[in-house]
């Protein structure tokens, strides 16, 4: 079947997920952890929005990045399912809406996700004044938070859309144009996108995620979180492909393609661990207080998050996907893909939640520094580990993401027959000796 039909049943189901997510989001607005409840920041709600917004938008961004990278590197095997990735990349626009909401929240002090957005933080005469953050004000400020997001994210979206348009147009009359003109145009945009993404990606990651711990910094942080996004996108691709294949779509996507995606999941799990280890080990080894505070906080108060992160994102995929047979068997592949997807969602939870909790506690209790020392003592629902509401919200976002993907998927032919690499992809075989 070349044309994907977005059936009413699927729509209902995805709407149901979104409704569940919305309900959980509202509930998380109401059920604030005790230690910060009186302040009325609704930190749980906002941090959930930030967490899922960053995670799902990033997946769309990394998919665009991977499309661009594959096109420039003359990859041929993936074109059988490139429509799926193109649909992923268009989620960027939804992400931008979420971040504009978060940015407006900053402006009107609706939340305390970011310590740097607090009132008077850059004003030497204010009791809230923070010298370090004042030094960063050129980057961490409300204007750039919204402006940068719109500018950079808009650029990403523009290129993602352009690449998809050309790719869809190629389907229609690509066989009539000379010399693969459409593909060459896509390659132009792809090549352009790579350096743009390399320079702007970190900027957005820093202000969206890293600045949650406003004092802390790590140069590797952006590359580390990009690896995490890629893994999430890769695992969701595997899951959706297997699902859509079971409905009869993508029949030319064979076990060989899935095997290769499995390889990517395996290899990038190791790469992610490499980034994780480099960041952790260097900070641990150097033992500079300003830096170790990040891990100290997480190791002391969030051990489940900390070790769970490593276990689910490194140990399990590494051990399961080591053998070739597990990458070719649907059962194991689906199982690992679900693990990896949740694992990286967990990873973003781990990056965002501890920082937002401390920020809220500092703001809630006047003696900011005392609060910082105490950190998140004991168990804090929705922060120490993901609670039921968080899981519901994740499902809601999964529903939203898939809804957007299916919506775009249903508009075009699934079979990119005029792609110059079409034949290669059809005959793709993971030969043992390649």
């Amino acid at each position: 079947m070349k044309q994907f039909i977005f059936e009413a049943k699927q729509k209902q189901f995805l709407m149901g997920l979104m409704a569940l997510g919305a309900v959980c989001l509202v509930l998380s607005y109401i059920f604030e952890p005790d230690s910060i409840a009186e302040a009325g920041f609704h930190q749980r709600f906002w941090s959930n929005l930030l967490h899922n917004g960053a995670f799902f938008t990033g997946m769309a961004f990394m998919t665009t990045f991977v499309i661009a990278a594959f096109v420039t590197a003359y990859s041929g095997w993936h074109v059988m399912f490139k429509r799926l990735w193109e649909a992923f990349s268009l989620f960027l626009i939804v992400g931008l809406v979420i971040f504009v909401l978060l940015g407006l929240g900053n402006v009107f002090h609706l939340h305390h996700l970011y310590h740097w957005a607090a009132e008077g933080i850059t004003d030497p005469s204010s009791p809230n004044f923070d010298e370090v953050i004042a030094g960063k004000a050129g980057f961490l400020n409300n204007g750039w938070y919204i402006g940068g997001t719109l500018l950079i994210g808009g650029l990403w979206y523009f290129i993602a859309r352009r690449m998809r348009q050309l790719s869809v147009q190629e389907d229609i009359d690509g066989d009539k144009v000379e010399n693969f003109a459409y593909h060459r145009k896509i390659r132009f945009w792809a090549a352009l996108f790579l350096p743009i993404a390399a320079f702007t990606g970190p900027a957005l990651i820093w202000q969206w995620v890293m600045s949650v711990d406003a004092h802390w910094y790590s140069t590797l942080f952006a590359w580390y979180s990009m690896a995490s996004w890629f893994l999430a996108a890769c695992s969701l691709t595997i899951l959706l492909l297997i699902y859509l294949k079971s409905l009869g779509y993508f029949e030319k996507v064979t076990v060989e393609h899935l095997h290769d995606l499995g390889k990517y999941m395996f290899a990038f799990s190791i790469f992610w661990t490499y980034c994780w280890f480099s960041q952790y080990m260097l900070i641990w080894y150097g033992n500079v207080g300003e830096e170790t505070i990040y891990f100290k906080e997480r190791l002391t108060h969030y051990p489940v998050l900390f070790y769970g992160n490593l276990f689910v994102n490194f140990a399990l995929p590494f051990l399961i996907l080591m053998r070739n047979t597990t990458k070719r068997r649907k059962g194991t592949l689906v199982f690992t893909a679900i693990l990896v997807f949740i694992g990286h969602w967990w990873d973003y939870f781990y990056m965002i939640k501890p920082g937002t909790l401390i920020t809220a506690q500092e703001a809630a209790h006047a003696g900011a520094h005392e609060a910082a020392q105490h950190g998140a003592a004991g168990f804090v629902a929705g922060f120490t580990i993901p609670g039921l509401l968080e899981l519901g919200i994740m499902l809601g976002f999964v529903g939203l993401f898939i809804y957007v993907v299916f919506h775009h998927l249903s508009k075009v032919s699934l079979d990119p027959v005029n792609d110059p690499y079409y034949e290669e992809s059809v005959h793709h075989e993971v030969q043992p000796y390649e």
Partner: protein
């Protein structure tokens, strides 16, 4: 090794596709192929010949694990009981600092073991003098070889006929 010599009848083909067709033909005629020689690896041949998948990775895995354990247990023993050393205010047992060497030894053990096992199971090594059927096999000829020691005259001529029919450019007999 060379206790008694082997009589080998072999055909040389000019192209790997002809060779592949010939192997399939020989298999369907139930001829007992001694070996196939080629100047470069041919994909899909292992399936036609029915070769089992190599198990070298198991060797690699086992020795890799030995490497991991050697490094991990070695450093743990040295730094926690044999000669405890404090560095940078860290505990004696500092796992993050052990990771690089653990990784390196894993790779080292596994790579050396796999390569050594490869040469041993293939019977290759410095000074090994395996018989060469034809000097052009490492150049541009593809060779299908049969052992004819225990075969009757009719069988041998059958094989010759088969080689000729399957398109062998040259047919030779050689004692090695």
């Amino acid at each position: 090794m060379k206790s008694h010599s082997k009589k080998v009848l072999f055909g040389l083909y000019n192209d790997e596709e002809e060779l592949m067709a010939a192997i399939s033909g020989a298999k369907s005629k139930h001829l007992n192929i001694m070996d196939v020689y080629s100047p470069f690896p041919i994909h899909g041949m292992e399936k036609i010949l029915g070769l089992e998948e190599s198990r070298l990775h198991i060797v690699g895995f086992i020795f890799g694990m030995i490497g991991t354990l050697t490094a991990f247990l070695g450093m743990t023993w040295i730094f926690t009981s044999d000669w405890p050393t404090i560095f940078g205010g860290k505990p004696y047992f500092s796992l993050p600092a052990f990771v690089p060497i653990i990784f390196e030894l894993t790779v080292l053990f596994s790579a050396i073991a796999m390569t050594v096992v490869f040469y041993i199971v293939c019977g290759l090594g410095f000074g090994v003098d395996n018989p060469i059927l034809d000097d052009r096999i490492t150049d541009d000829k593809f060779c299908l070889a049969f052992q004819t020691n225990d075969l009757s005259g009719t069988d041998v001529s059958n094989i010759k006929k088969f080689l000729k029919e399957s398109g062998a450019a040259e047919i030779h007999e050689k004692e090695v």
